[in-house]
């Protein structure tokens, strides 16, 4: 079957998910290589690959063959996404650094408090692990990695509203499992 960029894009627009699989098989390695080269981090590079191909599937009309091949288009999108991730990480690091400088260190905790906190953390981690994969991933990114809903959505490759609803669902389940008090910051 012919695999020119515009032909693949036309198939994608017609709802042919086999065209997406073909595009991934042919161009996934190149997209991944670009993301990996910029990000270094394997997990972040995979997130970028997912974003790039999900975007191709949802918005195939954004590809314009007159501006270049599909390979060029996808690797360019991957480069921009990866650079966005790098910029976002840099901003976050800078924020955290400012926060550390401005906020006084908390008072030293007693050994009993440390043990109790460790127990609580372990219980919460177990509960989070028991969540469905999609909800677990969203809540980990939002609460453990401190990402905004928008960044969670971009990282997973889903709309922001879906990210919010997954986090809400996850929190509702955690509240049922753990009780309200364990979810409240002390």
């Amino acid at each position: 079957m012919e695999s020119s960029g515009s032909f693949l894009a036309a198939r994608l627009a017609a709802g042919d998910d086999r065209a997406l699989a073909e595009a991934f098989d042919e161009l996934g390695p190149a997209v991944h290589a670009v993301a990996r080269q910029i990000l270094g981090d394997a997990a972040a590079a995979q997130d970028v690959v997912q974003e790039v191909f999900v975007d191709l599937w949802v918005h195939p009309q954004r590809y314009d063959e007159t501006l270049g091949t599909l390979r060029t288009y996808l690797t360019l999108v991957a480069r921009h996404r990866a650079q966005d991730v790098v910029r976002s990480e840099l901003r976050r690091s800078a924020r955290e650094e400012r926060h550390v400088r401005l906020v006084p260190l908390p008072p030293r905790r007693s050994p009993e408090q440390e043990v109790a906190d460790a127990d609580t953390a372990s219980t919460v981690r177990d509960a989070v692990r028991s969540l469905p994969d999609d909800q677990r991933r969203a809540v980990e990114l939002a609460y453990f990695d401190g990402l905004s809903y928008r960044d969670v959505a971009r990282r997973i490759g889903i709309p922001e509203g879906t990210a919010k609803s997954r986090v809400r669902l996850a929190l509702a389940k955690l509240e049922t499992m753990l009780g309200h008090e364990l979810l409240e910051p002390s």
């Binding site: 079957m1 627009a13 017609a14 042919d16 086999r18 991934f24 996934g28 949802v58």
Partner: protein, 283 residues
């Protein structure tokens, strides 16, 4: 780097995430859903616009079989009359031949002025549309050897009007027309639904076959169609073609070679499928 070098599971993860956001088969952009009545009405409006734009001399141009433009419009007037008789429950029109039954109307049109022929067709087309607005579109109607729910019959009517509109355009040296995306989507959907019946007309017995059909362009879509009796796993053929071109093939106005479909899978099976599509044509 090859696909094998990608991290394990990434392919599945990407494809799953993509399908979660947009289900396979859903087109981009979305095509508004219109009723079969609306599709037929739009095809009738397009046909009338063409007739209104024709010069008197164009009405005497040969178009199809032994018909000139006036005769072809007369034929369509006869079709509308037969559809209305079917709606009245007249079984005499259930099995009559599409061409033979309408020949008197075509002959009658030959002796009338273009204005009279056009008015007569528009009046009877309007009567059909008036009759079917609010009617039960699932009620089975029988006319010209077809036995279809009313909704499907109206899409067949839209198909025939568009086909003959383009016959006249070709005869008058005018550029071909394309239905709007919503009407075309109705036409492609119906053609795909009827495809197994078309294949059965050209192949006896019908070998089991899974057809993955992708019609590109506005009004297209993606379908998986089972052809033939299922007795176990069937070979598969994937066909990708332009949606408008596919409809022209279904109308038997172009050949398989003209369509230029991209095919993969079961060798030779695509020829049977596309011949089946062309066998759906009324005339």
């Amino acid at each position: 780097m090859t696909a094998d070098a990608l991290p394990a599971g990434l392919r599945e993860r990407v494809l799953t995430a993509a399908r979660e956001l947009r289900a396979p088969g859903r087109t981009v952009p979305d095509v508004p859903d219109i009723s079969p009545v609306e599709a037929c009405s739009r095809a009738a409006d397009a046909f009338l616009r063409l007739l209104t734009a024709l010069a008197d001399a164009d009405w005497r141009r040969p178009v199809l079989r032994d018909l000139d433009v006036a005769g072809l419009v007369g034929h369509l007037t006869g079709v509308e009359d037969d559809v209305q008789r079917a709606l009245d429950g007249d079984r005499d029109v259930a099995c009559v031949d599409h061409v033979a039954s309408t020949q008197p109307a075509a002959d009658h049109a030959a002796s009338r002025s273009p204005e009279e022929v056009r008015r007569a067709w528009r009046a009877t087309a309007d009567r059909t549309l008036e009759r079917v607005r609010g009617a039960d579109l699932d009620a089975v109607e029988r006319v010209h050897g077809l036995r279809l729910p009313l909704g499907a019959l109206l899409v067949v009517r839209a198909f025939e009007l568009w086909t003959h509109e383009n016959d006249i355009r070709l005869a008058a040296g005018l550029p071909a027309s394309v239905p709007d995306a919503a009407t075309l989507r109705r036409m492609t959907e119906l053609a795909v639904r009827l495809l197994p019946y078309g294949v059965a007309r050209v192949s006896d017995p019908v070998a089991p076959l899974d057809v993955h059909l992708v019609l590109t362009g506005a009004g297209g879509g993606t379908w998986d169609v089972a052809v033939g009796e299922r007795t176990g796993p069937a070979p598969e053929v994937a066909i990708v073609a332009d949606a408008v071109g596919f409809c022209r093939l279904v109308a038997d106005r172009i050949t398989q070679a003209d369509l230029g479909a991209q095919v993969s899978g079961a060798a030779g099976a695509a020829d049977v499928v596309l011949a089946g599509a062309a066998a759906l044509a009324l005339d």
